[in-house]
Amino acid sequence: MLKDELKKGSTEFLLLALLESEPRHGYDLQKLIESRSKGVLTFSVASLYPLLYKMEAREWIVGRWVEKASERRRRYYDLTPTGRLALEEQRLNWREFVAAINRVTGVKYA
């Protein structure tokens, strides 16, 4: 499991990335991160929602109540244009960061 510090800095990036393709609700996001990271990254309601609400306050994402047929009413989060810009910037930073690490450590991915 990753250290908290690292996790916190990157989880916003993860959530933005997950919301890029389609709007998702909180539990969906938690499950996706868990399954895609194969259990390395885990969330609980206590860690997920402060993050979502913070991002919403920054106007990166927006939550809407959606009722789908044969489903319960859920709050779906979607990227805002600001959120999209933030995602691009974070991707860029991440690439630069990874490249810098690589240059220093000489680690090469196949």
Partner: protein, 887 residues
């Protein structure tokens, strides 16, 4: 199926400490609950219910979750309606106007009902203010006092203060800045042009200073003017200056003749100055104080202005210590007390005070009825709007905002109503003043009934109180709306029912108040009818009266003159009866003390008093008065023959209960050496003085046996065209062209002057009661209509199940009549109390008169029946099929 767990409660209790806005809290509870429920469903099959629940609860209670609180507070902070903000206040006012534009009928009905209440209250207050509260139109008029003498041994009857005592007061007192006395008289004015009769006040120095009003020309009286032997001086009123001297500025120094004696004019008072009572002129009173011992001298009414900062109590204390000193010098006045009272309070009879305040209480009741009406209208509105208010609360409006919104609506109604009410009051004031001018009674000169500034402030105050009274209950009810319950289907019915219960209570209140008023009005109306039916026991129709005054001081010459006038009138065709006397029966009797031969009296004042007229034989034929025993006064009863008197039956009952009065002798007046008069006949007791109270004893003597002749009252009987002022002047022009004629009036006019307070104020009472009854009937009608609307479905079912129309009408009317009966019962108890207050307006009616109570109850029952019958009949037109489909 995994074991159920109530995640919602868990989340809610976790979040409840965050202090979020309800809508933000609801959102987060729903979102997190949904999350946890979904996760729980997936976890239970893998790790079991207990472990799953423990894990998720641990996660939920993680301190990290607290970080959501500040974020949610920020995110969901939609500011609620600010209750005290100015901008939202105007928004609410605009909203009220908009919503009233959609339902103008409510605004119109409410404002009209309240305007009636406000209008009547304002009218009544402006009368009270103009007559009683405003005071005299002079500087520091609240300090102006009048001083009366009261004798506790003589039933506290008010008396004048003798000149000698006034002189002592004036020199000894320390509490009055100005003190003066006056005695009014009516004199013949001549010199210059026409002779005229004028009201003149003989005054001491200091009298005019009490008012602080300065003359516009010349000066007012100084101490020197009161010295015997000084030139006699006079001050003119503006009216006298205008009418006799055409506003001539050189009038000062000119001479004017009063009763043949010359007076030098020294000044002119400003326009409308008529203190103390419609005076045309003021002359200096010249009496020598040295001639009178304590308790002697001309009786004066004293007026004074108390020094600034000194209370009436202190002033009276000062007077009392002087009185004590005086009592030591004169045993006869040992018991009397002189006391100062505020001028207006002393001059307006207590019964008028009581009457005006009783009427004010009555209009306040009308105002309350109209407030209850507005409250009911607002209740109906909020019950129709409970859904709207629920949505507003759900959307974030605070309850305070809803509360205020309803109060503002009642304020808007009150604002319209006060404008309308002031217009109504102004109309009433115009009518009141016109009537006051018509009545030609001696109304107080300071009475000024207008919309004065304090009256307008009063309007604002009562409009505010009325809007609070009318709005408070609807406002509380509207803010108690429960969004959860109200938004459910059919919830409308239950909230309407609660509102209707309170509405019913208002209607009971309205009926109670108007019953109380109507009961009082019933008594008052009955007494008006009795007054109009009053049998004075003498003829009043086709009788014209006037007063003529002799010009000389010589009674012998005057007597010859009057005899010539009598015979000239008697010989004029068209005049059926001629009466001359010292007064007119009814309100024009003189008063005198009577001594009966053979009875002893310790003091002159212990002799009984009686009404007295000195008449010509024409009295009996002109007024159709017939003796029941003995004989009337005839033309044989002249000077030099046996002095005779005729007494009334009341006089006989009081003084000769078991004796034959004919042949007994009495002596009139204070003079102990006056000639005895022998009683020769008895007449029925006639109406004298005022319509209420017991009719006093009466003595009639022969005019031509009197010694003093200054002026006589004349009564002429005949058709209107033959007996009038014109006809009288025509005859006088032949026999006595220079005698002034005054006080011309017909007999019915004279009598109506005596009874006007009862008729006018009584009439106003009746108007108040009718307005209140109408308002209550409308209120009852509205509440029954609302109830019928609510029960449309029920009535439909009843009709469908075979109820007849009569059954339906019966059910609805019973409901209306139930409220009426409760209301009437409460109202009659209240009315009994109110009638005690309004007793002053009652005449020959006892407050408990059963015929009045029954009549009023019938009117009330009939009105209530009509008010509930109308909506009940509407209910029978319900089509069962449609009613069942409704809602």
């Amino acid at each position: 199926m995994p074991e159920q767990f109530n995640w919602r409660d868990a989340v809610r209790s976790r979040v409840s400490t965050f202090g979020l806005h309800p809508s933000a809290e609801a959102d987060v509870v729903e979102e997190v609950t949904e999350h946890l429920e979904s996760q729980y469903l997936e976890l239970v099959p893998r790790i079991g219910a207990d472990a799953a629940r423990a894990q998720l609860l641990a996660e939920l209670n993680d301190r990290e979750f607290d970080e959501t609180a500040p974020l949610l507070q920020k995110r969901e902070h939609i500011p609620p309606t600010r209750v005290l903000g100015a901008s939202s206040f105007w928004r609410d006012v605009r909203y009220s106007f908009r919503s009233f534009r959609r339902t103008p009928a409510t605004l119109f009905a409410g404002a009209t009902a309240l305007a009636l209440g406000i209008g009547l209250t304002t009218l009544m207050f402006s009368v009270i203010y103009g007559l009683l509260l405003r005071g005299l139109p002079y500087q520091r008029s609240e300090n102006i006092a009048t001083i009366f003498r009261a004798d506790p041994q003589d039933r506290g009857q008010e008396d004048l203060v003798p000149f000698s005592d006034f002189v002592r007061y004036k020199s000894t007192q320390r509490t009055f800045a100005a003190l003066g006395g006056y005695a009014s008289a009516t004199v013949n004015v001549s010199g210059g042009q026409d002779a005229e009769r004028a009201r003149v006040a003989r005054v001491t120095a200091g009298f005019l200073d009490v008012t602080g009003v300065q003359p516009i020309v010349g000066r007012i009286f100084g101490v020197d003017d009161n010295i015997v032997g000084a030139p006699a001086t006079a001050v003119l009123s503006f009216a006298m200056w205008r009418d006799r001297y055409q506003l001539d500025s050189t009038v000062v120094g000119q001479s004017i003749n009063l009763n043949g004696r010359p007076f030098t004019i020294i000044g002119v008072m400003p326009e409308r100055f008529e203190f103390p009572q419609r005076e045309r002129m003021w002359v200096s009173l010249q009496l020598d104080p040295a001639q009178f011992s304590a308790g002697q001298g001309l009786g004066l009414t004293l007026v004074g202005k108390i020094r600034t900062g000194i209370s009436f109590e202190t002033a009276n204390h000062d007077l009392a210590s002087i009185s004590k000193q005086l009592a030591k010098e004169n045993a006869d006045t040992a018991a009397v007390r002189d006391f100062a009272r505020p001028y207006v309070r002393a001059m307006v009879p207590t019964r008028v005070y009581a009457l005006l305040y009783a009427m004010f209480a009555a209009v306040l009741l009308v105002l309350m009825v109209s407030c209850a009406n507005v409250a009911n209208l607002l209740l109906d509105r909020i019950s129709n709007r409970s859904r709207e208010n629920a949505i507003r609360v759900a959307l974030g409006a605070s309850r305070g905002a809803i509360f205020r919104q309803t109060l503002i609506e009642s304020g808007v109604v009150a604002a319209y109503a006060s404008i309308l009410g002031v217009i109504l009051a102004q109309g009433g004031i115009v009518a009141f003043n016109r009537w006051a001018a018509d009545i030609r009674a001696d109304l107080p000169f300071w009475m000024d009934v207008r919309l004065h500034v304090p009256v307008m402030l009063f309007v604002i105050a009562i409009a505010t109180v009325a809007s609070l009274l009318a709005g408070i209950v609807p406002a509380v009810l509207s803010s108690r709306v429960d969004p959860g319950a109200s938004l459910k289907l059919g919830a409308h019915v239950s909230s309407t029912r609660r509102v209707a219960r309170i509405g019913n209570a208002f209607v009971v209140l309205e009926i109670a108040l108007s019953s109380a008023l109507l009961l009082t009005a019933g008594f008052v109306t009955t007494s008006i009818v009795r007054i109009n039916d009053l049998n004075p026991r003498f003829r009043t129709q086709d009788i014209f009266t006037a007063r003529v005054t002799a010009l000389t001081k010589d009674s012998a010459i005057n007597k010859t003159r009057f005899e010539a006038i009598e015979s000239a009138l008697a010989n004029t065709p068209g005049i059926g009866g001629v009466y001359l006397g010292n007064g007119i029966p009814g309100t024009g009797w003189s008063g005198t003390r009577v001594a009966i031969e053979g009875r002893t009296y310790d003091k002159p004042r212990n002799r009984p008093s009686s009404r007295w007229l000195a008449v010509t034989p024409g009295f009996f034929s002109t007024f159709d008065v017939a003796v029941t025993r003995g004989r009337a006064i005839t033309s044989a009863d002249r000077e030099g023959t046996l002095r005779v008197a005729v007494v009334s039956e009341t006089f006989v009952q009081r003084h000769f209960p078991r004796e034959d009065p004919v042949g007994k002798r009495i002596r009139l007046g204070d003079d102990a050496v006056a000639e005895w008069a022998t009683i020769v006949g008895v007449v029925p007791t006639m109406f004298a003085d005022s319509p209420d109270g017991n009719w006093p004893t009466e003595v009639i003597t022969a005019l031509w046996q009197e010694r003093q002749f200054n002026n006589v009252a004349i009564a002429l009987r005949g058709p209107e065209e033959s007996v009038s002022l014109v006809a009288l002047r025509k005859v006088l022009a032949r026999v006595a062209p220079d005698v002034p004629v005054s006080d011309a009036a017909t007999m019915p006019e004279l009598l109506s002057r005596a009874t006007w307070p009862n008729r006018v104020f009584g009439g106003m009472f009746v108007i108040f009661a009718i307005v209140a009854l109408l308002l209550a009937a409308i209120g009852l009608y509205a509440i029954v209509s609302i109830s019928v609307g609510r029960r449309t479905r029920e009535m439909g079912v009843r009709l469908a199940l075979g109820a007849t129309h009569a059954n339906v009408v019966g059910i609805i009317c019973r409901e209306g009549m139930k409220q009426s009966t409760i209301g009437i019962a409460i109202g009659f108890a209240l009315g009994a109390a109110l009638t005690q207050l309004g007793r002053a307006a009652l005449f020959e009616v006892k407050p408990g008169d059963p015929t009045v109570i029954i009549a009023v109850a019938c009117v009330l029952a009939a009105t209530s029946l009509v008010a509930s019958l109308m909506p009940a009949l509407a209910a029978t037109r319900v089509d069962p099929a449609r009613a069942l489909r409704a809602d």
